[in-house]
């Protein structure tokens, strides 16, 4: 019973965070944001270890990394500049941060050998999440749900930023809030599940949800539901085959995704045949 409760206390906030952030990332096309933030994270993370801040200050890693990562929300533009496409501009900026953070982090790893167990960053420790992180997950999940409910309609119309501006709204403000939701979620998920699973759970469940044509709200709710199903399915499977959880969740999610694509294609093919 305790184990069951423990799983749910992690999986529920994780599903909410990754469902909401995944939807934003998918619909705004910030596909390299998850990888970018996760690798940029190496930089401040390495610096914190180099100067021994974690033991000196005795605060969760998230609080230490957040001041370095939050400025990212001012780095990604809402609208394209005159000569460059939006994607080109934002993806290039994300990639610069990606390499900057990672190179600083790796440099520190070489300076202080064996200062960090890299495997824990790659695969996370979903079944060994400490109580402090669980409380943080719930707290931020709650904050992000409140932000989502408050600004739901404005997030929905962000790609129509010119029309929003003409209507008297401030799209740039909502854009920053949206990026804040994404960046904080990525950091929290990273701490719990590691980089390998982070990219998968921020991308695949929303992709599956978007195959069910519906409204924006439906996409968001379905993303959260699929996140939960994939995470739970992966945890149960990893117990059954007795293999590390994160890679099993990632593999399970990708197999289901491929299954959905295959059945979708098959259905389309049948429908076309019927029409002929």
């Amino acid at each position: 019973m305790n184990l069951f409760f423990y799983f749910f206390s992690i999986l529920v906030p994780l599903s909410v965070l990754s469902g909401i952030a995944g939807t934003h990332i998918h619909i705004r096309g910030y596909h390299s944001l998850a990888g970018g933030v996760a690798h940029f994270f190496f930089g401040p993370f390495g610096l914190a270890y180099l100067f021994n801040f974690l033991t000196k200050l005795n605060i969760p890693l998230l609080y230490l990394v957040l001041p370095f990562v939050l400025p990212l929300i001012f780095f990604i533009p809402l609208k394209p500049s005159q000569n460059k496409s939006f994607d080109e501009q934002s993806q290039a900026r994300i990639n610069i941060l990606w390499s900057l953070g990672m190179s600083v982090g790796l440099l520190i790893i070489f300076l202080i050998p064996s200062f960090i167990n890299l495997e824990s960053l790659l695969f996370g420790r979903i079944l060994l999440v400490d109580n402090k992180t669980i409380v943080l997950l719930w707290l931020f999940a709650l904050i992000l749900v409140v932000l989502q409910v408050m600004f739901h309609n404005y997030f929905k119309y962000l790609p129509l930023y010119q029309e929003m501006q003409v209507e008297g709204y401030r799209p740039l403000f909502y854009h920053r809030i949206q990026l804040f939701i994404c960046v904080v979620s990525i950091l929290l998920i990273l701490q719990a599940v590691g980089i390998v699973l982070l990219v998968t759970i921020l991308t695949v469940p929303t992709l599956v949800a978007s195959r069910f044509k519906g409204q924006y709200t439906m996409l968001l709710v379905l993303s959260i539901l699929f996140e939960f199903v994939f995470l739970l399915g992966g945890v149960v499977l990893s117990f059954w085959i007795d293999v590390q959880t994160s890679p099993v969740i990632a593999t399970f999610t990708l197999i289901v995704f491929l299954g959905v694509i295959a059945s979708d294609t098959l259905l389309k093919h049948r429908r076309m045949k019927k029409n002929i």
Binding site: I27, G29, E163
Partner: protein, 232 residues
């Protein structure tokens, strides 16, 4: 309704579009902007809407800008980045303040405008599944779904079939009867000029002759024609 005086606008230091343009847009009238490609018609709209800022000069509204309700049909009708919105959701952007308080009014307004532009059947479709003509009708529905003090319509007839154009003209006439200010820009010279009270021609200094016959024709029809010279 508003006026431009001595407005200068550059997209880059090398590319000056307007050096010193000035004109007035009268209230409750329909004004049509004409000019070559790249003459700055859409830029005039964006400057008036506050989406771009002039480097010099004044854009002055006769009433408080914040108290005015503006509606804007932009030239670009692709909406790739809003692929996930249904047509109903897309139209309801201009009804956001009503969404939380009066959902039934929102639905009524959407149904009415969808009936006018004949898009009832595609209200639940995603934007990514529409043809350009359907997108244009959805876009026009979004603009006309609610009242506005000024309608800015940039190339409103592009991608529309003849039935769609008729529905647009009917809507323009409906708004004209309510004495709403309408500002158009178009290359369509067969119908839209006849719905316009004023015509503003944006043209290079040496290119007046291109529009000479057109200008003379509308001056004879007692329409106010202003010619604004711009830099090419």
């Amino acid at each position: 309704m508003f006026s431009f005086s001595e407005v200068e606008f550059r997209y880059s230091s090398k590319h000056t579009l307007f050096n010193n343009i000035g004109f007035s847009i009268p209230k409750a009238k329909t004004t049509l902007f004409i000019g070559d490609n790249g003459s700055g018609k859409s830029t005039v709209f964006k400057l008036a809407l506050g989406l771009l800022k002039p480097q010099r000069g004044l854009i002055r509204f006769t009433e408080k800008r914040k108290s005015l309700r503006l509606a804007y049909l932009k030239q670009d009708t692709f909406f790739h980045s809003a692929w996930y919105l249904s047509v109903g959701e897309f139209i309801s952007l201009r009804l956001l303040p009503l969404m939380r308080t009066n959902r039934s009014t929102v639905n009524d307004k959407i149904e009415r405008i969808a009936r006018h532009f004949d898009i009832q059947d595609i209200l639940h479709k995603q934007l990514s599944a529409l043809s350009l003509g359907q997108l244009k009708r959805a876009h026009l529905s979004q603009v006309f779904v609610d009242d506005a003090d000024i309608f800015f319509l940039d190339e409103p007839t592009v991608y529309l079939d003849s039935l769609g154009k008729d529905k647009l003209y009917a809507k323009i006439q409906e708004e004209q009867k309510k004495h709403i200010t309408i500002i158009l820009c178009s290359h369509e010279f067969s119908h839209l000029p006849s719905y316009s009270d004023n015509i503003i021609c944006l043209t290079g200094k040496d290119q007046d002759s291109v529009y000479h016959d057109f200008i003379t024709y509308f001056q004879q029809k007692n329409k106010t024609v202003t010619v604004e010279h711009i830099h090419y």
